[in-house]
């Protein structure tokens, strides 16, 4: 399984980098929250979960309509998320199991990925 080992190694390296970066980045992200969010937008987050950096923030890219203006990243790769009518969230790697928040969707994605890299999704 050389392929898998290499991917795992890459994942670990990315996680270590993210862990170092998270300490410096989490504070500014949190302080920027009030200005960036509107009344119904979820709280931004930036944390290391199971060795991987997960981030949630108001969207800047073209995918904003699916997440209601919110985007989620795993090790800086965008994770396609969607908000359901009842306020719950799903992602493309856990599409049939709604969770309460985008942070929970990011954590569920990390659980699902078992260290694998997320692939960027095409804009549509």
């Amino acid at each position: 399984m050389p392929e898998l080992s290499r991917r795992r190694a890459l994942g670990t390296a990315a996680a270590l980098t993210a862990a170092a970066a998270a300490h410096t980045l989490s504070a500014p992200a949190a302080s920027a929250a009030p200005a960036a969010s509107h009344h119904d937008s979820p709280e931004p987050f930036d944390e290391v979960y199971k060795g991987r950096r997960i981030q949630g923030r108001p969207a800047s890219g073209p995918m904003h309509h699916h997440g209601d203006g919110f985007e989620v990243l795993v090790d800086t790769v965008p994770l396609h998320v969607m908000r359901n009518a009842d306020g719950t969230w799903i992602s493309v790697v856990s599409h049939y199991a709604p969770v309460p928040t985008p942070r929970a969707a990011a954590r569920a994605a990390v659980d699902e990925l078992q260290g694998a890299v997320l692939l960027p999704f095409p804009a549509n």
């Binding site: 199991a97 694998a116 890299v117």
Partner: protein, 274 residues
């Protein structure tokens, strides 16, 4: 005439023909086009925007047409093959013959979820996961790990007894038969089965697992059972609904078929129980 049979009753020969036809579609590249189409609709269907394949009234006719396309592709390889269905309310164990090495193969190993037996195991070399959302190229499953129980027959019956096909707002918040069958509300039938299987089946690229077709063939059969139980109930809505496919509107991506054209499955196939 095409007869769709319960997978539990297939002969060894029928299983062999089905598997061979699926593998040939994979080899030729036609299989992955179905995965791509499904994921595009999964990503594009939203509760407050345009919605066609999922979380909307057309969930059922859209998947009926999608399965018909797939079944026709299989039959172009082997005219004797039809889509079997998986009644997960009866065959509810990872020890079911569905998951045996002569058919779909079993659950994934604990380390990485990789399926290690059957014709779709990565080690057999015939089933690369090409349309994917992460770096893993092998088929994965975790049968029963993410949710313990498949739906029971009593839960299925409770949904089949809902007399209204669908209701405003025609999305994942709706009451009525369609959304309870899809699983965004209530006891949760269709969605829960995706989660129970795990692996790619729990993701937007769920048709990467051939059990996708057997699951949806049974969801499709439940629609037919619901029609039989509720003969005075029809597809809704019937007109003028923004972002939603009304009874007489055409559906993407085909643009040549309306829900109205797909209500009667006997125009295309029958079930072994019909």
């Amino acid at each position: 005439m095409t007869v769709r049979k319960n997978q539990a009753g297939l002969s060894a020969d029928e299983k062999r023909h089905f598997v061979a036809a699926v593998l040939e579609l994979k080899r030729s590249g036609r299989y992955d086009a179905f995965v791509t189409t499904h994921n595009a609709f999964i990503l594009g269907d939203t509760d407050n925007g345009e919605r066609t394949g999922h979380r909307s009234p057309s969930f059922l006719p859209w998947h009926r047409r999608f399965l018909l396309e797939f079944e026709r592709a299989l039959q172009s390889v082997d005219a004797t093959v039809t889509l079997p269905y998986w009644d997960w309310s009866t065959d509810r164990s990872p020890r079911s013959s569905l998951w045996a090495p002569d058919f779909l193969g079993g659950t994934g190993r604990s380390r990485d979820g990789q399926v290690t037996d059957g014709p779709f195991a990565a080690s057999a070399g015939n089933w690369p996961i090409s349309v994917r959302v992460d770096g893993r190229t092998f088929l994965r499953r975790q049968l029963g790990a993410n949710v313990r129980e498949l739906p029971t027959r009593a839960e299925v019956d409770s949904v089949l007894s809902m007399a209204t096909y669908d209701m405003a707002p025609w999305n994942s918040a709706s009451d009525g038969f369609r959304n309870h069958l899809e699983g965004w509300r209530g006891v949760n039938l269709h969605n829960r089965v995706h989660v129970w299987v795990g692996g790619q089946m729990a993701t937007g690229v769920s048709p990467n697992d051939p059990v996708f077709w057997l699951h949806h063939a049974y969801i499709d059969k439940l629609w037919a059972e619901w029609q039989r139980r509720n003969p005075r109930s029809g597809y809704l809505p019937t007109g003028g609904t923004p972002n939603v496919v009304d009874l007489g509107e055409t559906m993407k991506p085909w643009n040549d078929v309306r829900p109205a054209d797909l209500l009667d499955h006997t125009a295309f196939y029958t079930f072994d129980t019909d």
